[in-house]
Symmetry: C2
């Protein structure tokens, strides 16, 4: 027989985490910034179910993803799975509704995804994705806009002047490989090139020679392209020379130039967007522009906002061609970065003002004051118990309120209050009607 008092140990699953207020407040702030920026460009929100038919999800992210898929049989005997990204559901969504919605279609989607990965430091089995995409158009305007959105995101989050958006166009390298007669070897070449920052020039060249049958000269030409340094104008000039005569290559260089020119015209500082022909982002998916974003203070954490242009989003589900371009803000990575950089205050209340409650028969007056302050736009918490002031101030301090407004019986009679700045410890006395002016 079970005893009534038998308790279950409260715990979360391995690889999963709870968000306490001091982590959830900055996470909500980041998602709100993302929403505001996306909306300011006309991206509209959508949502899709966490659960999808297994066949919708299976085989879309490669073998590794299939293995990590949370899948099971539901009550109706259907094989179902938890989405592992927001791209596959968006492809399914687009195929299903595009005739109703019409193109171009600009959407953002912020939501949780699940992957049964081996848990390592900072890797979770549940995490948020924060994607924006424009589909149904091949226009370069959307590639330019993608860059502008990334710029606005990072600036709004507080990294103005402290990040670089690296851009590339897949056609440039394809053009060069075509010229070199290596187009059929694109995959092994890209695979080798991807390792450049880690293993260095010589080893990459060796790998190209071995796995892609490249000659020394060919490997050298590819590496020269990838290693180009200088201003955007200088790089564009060199690239133009290198791919000259190859149609795809020339188109790629022209597109890079158009993006650079227009984002600068729109006010993005020259240094913020840099051409980097070495970035490839996976091997198959992206076909045109590619974006990566690095924080100057923490380059090692990798790109915090990445994306690119693809030829056809939903070919698995529809005959309709849906080319598009988009990127994804790495919310969790950014949060971790901001924590590491000391950009996150340890605050566990969303409210600005704390009102201790210690004249018990004045409850209505405390509540009314709080209502008035809320109307003036403040976020206000009234302590629920008429305890000693010291205890209540300790609570306020622990939570991290910016201000405490202390009102005792004398203050009520004189219609005044004492405002305490909880960071500096300074106090100011003022009429109750002037609190909004003092804070």
């Amino acid at each position: 027989m079970m005893e009534k008092t038998q308790r279950i140990t409260p715990r979360t699953l391995k690889g999963f985490r709870d968000y306490l207020p001091e982590t959830m407040i900055p996470r909500e702030r980041l998602t709100e910034i993302a929403q505001q920026v996306y909306r300011s460009y006309g991206f509209a929100p959508i949502d899709t179910p966490a659960l999808e038919y297994y066949e919708i999800l299976a085989g879309k992210g490669g073998d590794e993803t299939d293995k990590q898929l949370y899948q099971f049989e539901d009550h109706g005997g259907r094989r179902v799975g938890l989405r592992f990204d927001l791209t596959v559901p968006f492809a399914r969504f687009s195929a299903q509704y595009i005739n109703q919605i019409g193109t171009p279609f600009k959407r953002y989607h912020i939501g949780k995804v699940w992957r049964g990965e081996n848990t390592q430091a900072g890797r979770y089995r549940e995490f948020m994705q924060c994607d924006f995409d424009t589909i149904g158009t091949e226009s370069i305007v959307s590639d330019i806009e993608t860059t502008l959105v990334i710029h606005d995101l990072l600036n709004s989050i507080g990294f103005e002047g402290k990040y670089t958006i690296r851009i590339n166009n897949r056609l440039v390298l394809s053009g060069l490989l075509d010229k070199l007669g290596l187009l059929a070897k694109t995959v092994p070449i890209l695979r080798a090139l991807d390792k450049l920052p880690k293993i260095g020039r010589e080893k990459v060249a060796e790998e190209m020679i071995q796995s892609a049958d490249a000659t020394c000269q060919q490997a050298d030409a590819v590496l020269q392209l990838a290693e180009l340094k200088g201003t955007s104008d200088e790089i564009l000039k060199s690239l133009a020379t290198m791919v000259s005569g190859n149609e795809a290559g020339e188109e790629g260089v022209e597109k890079l130039g158009t993006v650079i020119k227009n984002v600068q015209a729109a006010g993005v500082p020259e240094k913020t967007v840099q051409i980097d022909v070495s970035i490839a982002r996976g091997l198959d998916y992206y076909t045109g522009m590619i974006y990566e974003t690095f924080l100057h203070e923490l380059p090692g954490i990798g790109s915090v906002c990445s994306g690119g242009r693809y030829d056809n989003l939903a070919s698995l589900y529809t005959k309709q061609q849906l080319p598009g371009v988009g990127a994804s803000l790495g919310l969790d990575r950014l949060l971790a970065a901001m924590e590491e950089l000391g950009k996150i205050e340890k605050i566990s209340t969303p409210a600005d003002i704390f009102i201790p409650f210690f004249v018990a028969n004045r409850l209505g007056d405390y509540l009314k004051l709080a209502v008035n302050l809320r109307r003036a736009g403040f976020k206000v918490e009234v302590y629920p118990e008429a305890k000693k002031l010291g205890q209540q101030l300790k609570y306020a301090d622990k939570r991290g309120f910016a201000y405490t407004v202390v009102i005792g019986e004398d203050e009520f009679e004189q219609n005044t209050c004492q405002i305490k700045n909880m960071k500096t410890g300074e106090t100011v006395n003022c009429p109750m009607t002037e609190i909004a002016l003092q804070i």
Copy 2:
């Protein structure tokens, strides 16, 4: 052999739905209002994983809920389930962290939950919950505040003057039942009483007599209590007489009086909060105050914001006593109601201003104008392709933009533009620098 062109039918699981922009925009608006109101009272956000150990979830919501639980074995052989509400995870969360967080603890939690229910009209297997709770205090201040939060939520959503918050205190009925010697029959009495609006007075009395061994007089006394009508003062007086001499009953009446008095002092109109001793909200969980909220225009859809006070949130997971009070905003129900009442505009863009792009070599100028308007606080979409104006205006109309700002080569040269109000069709010509003043 599989053909490459074999396509998968894009579809969602039965009981699940996608949110297209025109539904997602109002849903995001509602969750933002809820967040703002919760924060304005000092409720802090938390989040918990969608997946929990099965043992955490099982047996917490009754047999029906257990049957509806999405459960399976994960990659590590753990039995896991998708959360079916936000209360059980909050109980687990509280037991786990309360010593670290401290009390009183005020949290809100907005997130998806899953139940494998039989799908009926308007019932989904995935839906959002939107809860707020104060735990770790028995103070009536938190019960008062719960009422104020519900009031602010409904006002902010746009129902000012068009809803009633019905409140009750479980102790009042307990007090009467105790006086009548029927306390041991509370469950069957409540079960019968719950049916009052549906089956009427006589049948409820019959059921009380049959299933709770009540006499005619006893059943009549209970029904008199439940059917009290009048102003709050009148009801409070009658209740006081009816439970007079019984401690619990008197406490319940006093608490109802304190809530009424203080929410009125805080500026809530008298008619908005009404005592209704017939509301019970389930049989076991709530122990003190109870809240339900009805829309005057759609009483039939049921309560759109409900909650109450409970004795001990987390007794299954910890010895620590965690009394609390809270409520849950019925987001999906409210959305459906607003749709039925024509309160939701059919708009599928979050942006205010549409800028057609039709002078191809002026792309940089269009983009720059959009940047400036965004800086001025507008949400602006630039069409990505230099198509015919008519086609672009059709797109703008379909999406539901409020304004279109038309600029051709002449306008660029004269630094002017034409602003078209898309609802009225009116157009205004003005200098480009004055768009913000005209919209």
